[in-house]
């Protein structure tokens, strides 16, 4: 098995899985029906992408593994999503803030991944870009709406951005698998668009009348499997059926 490629795929897909799971928690509890439907859409798109990635990863493993084994049967330390996506749905400002900070990265990432030498990854990227462009438009519009809405929404949006900002740097950390895949022309050299990412965030936040956080302190660990305390609870739900009833078909 191409271990580097397998790990690389998990690095992309786990973000989509955990964010999709978080958004799934909100279904039926949104501020109105329209946003409820939209957030479910984000979740559905992300989980659709997850399935493409894990099916590919399962094929690479060349044993009997399925997409579900990869999604549900790993231990916490084996999930390599960034810390940002596991942050809780504190309120709608956090949900949209988390989404925006991730979407902006995700879109730039997929634009590069389209050019991957790996044709499967390139195909998944091409399909996903359309979805993620919409996600990005949706979340940045909401950041603007909340930032430049009422005093209350402004203050909530600012707190969310301040708190979540500290998780953005990790998006650009490179694992060994990342470096290996970049060398092979398969992976995306994310640090190359780091400045562009932060410039873009600055533009949107300024338009939203929000202050760009100045914090130089960032959190990290997710990409190496060292997660926040949230992760165990996310996995308890996610894995509940597969762990309680092992080896069954659903």
């Amino acid at each position: 098995m191409n271990t580097g490629l397998y790990k690389y795929i998990l690095g992309i897909a786990d973000n989509c899985l955990i964010l999709g799971q978080r958004l799934g928690e909100l279904c039926g509890h949104g501020p109105n029906l329209e946003t409820d439907i939209a957030c479910t859409n984000l979740s559905l798109d992300l989980l659709g992408q997850v399935r493409s990635y894990y099916q590919y990863a399962a094929k690479l493993k060349a044993d009997d593994s399925t997409e579900d084994d990869i999604a549900f049967l790993r231990n916490e330390r084996e999930y390599v999503n960034v810390l940002l996506v596991e942050q809780p749905n504190t309120d709608f400002a956090y949900v949209m803030g988390r989404q925006f900070l991730f979407d902006a990265f995700h879109l730039m990432f997929l634009k590069e991944l389209q050019n991957s030498h790996d044709i499967t990854l390139s195909a998944i990227a091409k399909k996903s870009i359309k979805e993620v462009s919409y996600h990005h438009r949706f979340s940045s519009d909401w950041v603007k709406r909340l930032g430049d809405g009422t005093e209350e929404s402004h203050s909530k949006m600012q707190s969310a951005i301040n708190d979540l900002w500290t998780y953005t740097d990790e998006l650009f950390h490179l694992t060994e698998a990342d470096e290996e895949m970049i060398k092979e022309g398969i992976g995306v050299d994310t640090p190359k668009f780091k400045d562009e990412y932060y410039n873009h965030l600055t533009d949107i936040l300024e338009e939203a009348t929000l202050t760009v956080p100045e914090s130089k302190y960032f959190h990290k660990g997710g990409k190496l499997g060292i997660h926040s305390e949230n992760m165990g609870f996310i996995l308890s739900d996610l894995q509940y059926m597969q762990r309680t009833y092992p080896n069954m078909q659903w």
Binding site: C27, G28, D36, T40, S43, L47, D68, M248
Partner: protein, 318 residues
Amino acid sequence: MSDEHIKNLEAQFEARIARDEKIEPKDWMPEKYRQTHIRQISQHAHSEVVGMLPEGNWITRAPSLRRKVALLAKVQDEAGHGLYLYSACETLGISRDELYDQLHTGKAKYSSIFNYPTVTWADIGAIGWLVDGAAIINQVPLCNTSFGPYARAMVRVCKEESFHQRQGYEIMLKLCQGTPEQKEMAQDALNRWWWPSLMMLGPTDAESVHTAQSMKWKLKRKTNDELRQQFIDQTVPQADILGIKVPDPDLKWNEERGHYDFGEIDWDEFWQVVKGHGPCNKERMTARINAWENGEWVREAAMAYASKKESRKTNTAV
């Protein structure tokens, strides 16, 4: 308007319905027709939206990615149904805020079935199979109801509900073809959802207060008891295919009637839940009220932003 004039309009109105013409929002209609439709359509919309909760309860725990995606899409469909039913209702001159207020204050009802808890994964299968199954039986005749916006909404709702029902049945089938533990889970779900599903088709004809008027306006084409019989006749053979047993010792095929005979429904339980004392009435209402109240600042922000944008546009234009 003189009494005679109104009588004239009423006669014309009834004649249009008798000719199977659709009544549209801007057409003249008797006040009672309007009120009855607001009541029924909003009750239907509320049921869709409250109905998201028991199933939403399993989204984060769905057993496979395929099931998770299907469940999310299903619950999202229910939100969509709520949305266009509320819109249909709004054409009758009531706002969505007022409708929500009626739900949250307990003035408006929603389907009692959603006050039962979903305790295992099999409940998701049972809801699709039985609850959506009963809903379809209730709703298919409404595709021809007299009020245009409701009839058109029902066409789409029924198509999606029928997909949901197949999806639910497929969950049950998979469980029944699985391990003994899975089959037991399916049987347990049928045991718990069977009677509430029969109750879902409404009180017996003798107890139903709205039936006569609703039949006249084609808001109802069959009585509750007829619909219930149709549901039972259709569902029992499906349970046979699954190899699980309907929890009714009196259930028996009646050759002479060409229908299944069935046991006594516990109407005390039905009225208990309708009156707000079911297992999850409080939880469901609290969840809806919380979502609405916690979302207030978001909705206000969206309005404030839109008006700022509008006034900026006007200023630039000037």
